[in-house]
Subunit: 214 residues, 2 copies
DNA sequence: GTCTATATCTCGATAGAC
DNA sequence: GTCTATCGAGATATAGAC
């Protein structure tokens, strides 16, 4: 049984879930300090007093939202990795799954980015705790798949750590800068969801050819 | 001669420059609303009254910092594109120049990202104004180089817009998430600047192979 | 659990002496 | 131009009736 300080929102009441969702959006957009409790209360359709009744303080609310979002974000990484026979298939499945997760949970990723902009002190604490508990972070699994593919001669000899970082970059960055992409890219403005699907195809094509043996 | 509302910080006094630099760092880290005038004053080594003496209000200060940063950010894109004879060289020079610019101006990029997280209303306004004034944004130039390389048969037939977005993603994202990268990636923690150089090599290798004809 | 009213504090901004 | 002191708005947080 998890301790009280790190419960999954599944254990929340309806009201708590409403607050949590509203807080996630607000913190993701405005950051830890820029977020306003009034804005969260409005979005959750309750008043400010109720916020404090359920979550005591802004700091506790942020900690709760951040800790859960971080676990979700890391878990999604592992969940996007299926058990495909070839590396080609592994890459395909990972890009599809990971991009889909971000499309459905954009605020979670925004919150991670926001923490990085602010210096990542809370982030570093959580990451190190996860490293100690599990001896490695989820990206490690993709690193190992790449190493295996290199050893098997399926792809060129590339640095697996740099490669994983590049895959993550291309899967996430266009969500981070969605407002800019919408202005610059006509197709994105016309139909975002269709654009995301097209992007999955492009990313797989670009990265697979980037790794494949000539 | 530029109008008074959009001057380059080169026209600033020493004090104004100190304030500008401090404000850029603070806005980049905490965002428009999360930033604190007191923190900016402290970093600029002056008191709050002087801030308002020079920049009237937080809003005006932000507008000044944002408008200048955006122009710089866009200009860097064009400046990173040399006049190399082959696409291979073009890509090499661009990645080097663009990554170097971000390494030296991380806060500028952070501010752009921060605006995107917040919804990008100021960003959209500026982008559209630039589009109207020059009929196209700087990324357009790289798009054209890719189109030309495709037509010349130098690279595979790829979507140039998606490709440019992927190049930008890989060049910027690891700076955005620098605190995370430093925790996860041992080489980055040991020597960041060396890591950045290694990353330039990796990116060129990955993307060039991703585009090259088999 | 929910709401109104209010306490307390922080922040942006200004007044006014120098 | 620079600084101290302070105002007033707006933010977090709480008290207390229901």
């Amino acid at each position: 049984m998890p301790d009280a300080g790190s419960q999954h929102p599944d254990a929340y009441s309806d009201t708590e879930r409403q607050i949590f969702d509203a807080a996630l959006q607000e913190f993701a957009r405005k950051g830890r300090d820029g977020a306003r409790m009034q804005a969260i209360a409005d979005a959750a359709d309750i008043n400010k007093a109720m916020l404090h009744y359920y979550f005591r303080s802004k700091e506790r609310l942020y900690d709760e939202v951040f800790a859960f979002s971080m676990r979700r974000f890391m878990a999604a990484f592992g969940e996007s990795l299926g058990a495909a026979p070839t590396f080609r298939e592994t890459l395909r499945v990972f890009i599809d799954g990971y991009v889909d997760f971000i499309r459905d949970n954009r605020a979670v990723m925004q919150l991670m980015v926001s923490e990085n902009l602010a210096g990542g002190s809370a982030l570093g604490r959580h990451l190190r705790r996860m490293q100690e508990a599990e001896h490695a972070l989820p990206p490690r699994v993709l690193v190992e798949r790449i190493e295996a593919a290199v050893d098997a001669g399926e792809i060129r000899p590339v640095d697996p750590h740099h490669t994983v970082l590049s895959v993550i970059s291309t899967c996430l960055f266009f969500f981070v800068t969605e407002p800019t992409v919408r202005v610059i890219h006509p197709a994105a403005r016309a139909d975002w969801s269709e654009f995301v699907d097209a992007r999955k195809e492009h990313l797989f094509d670009l990265i697979y050819h980037g790794l494949a043996r000539p």
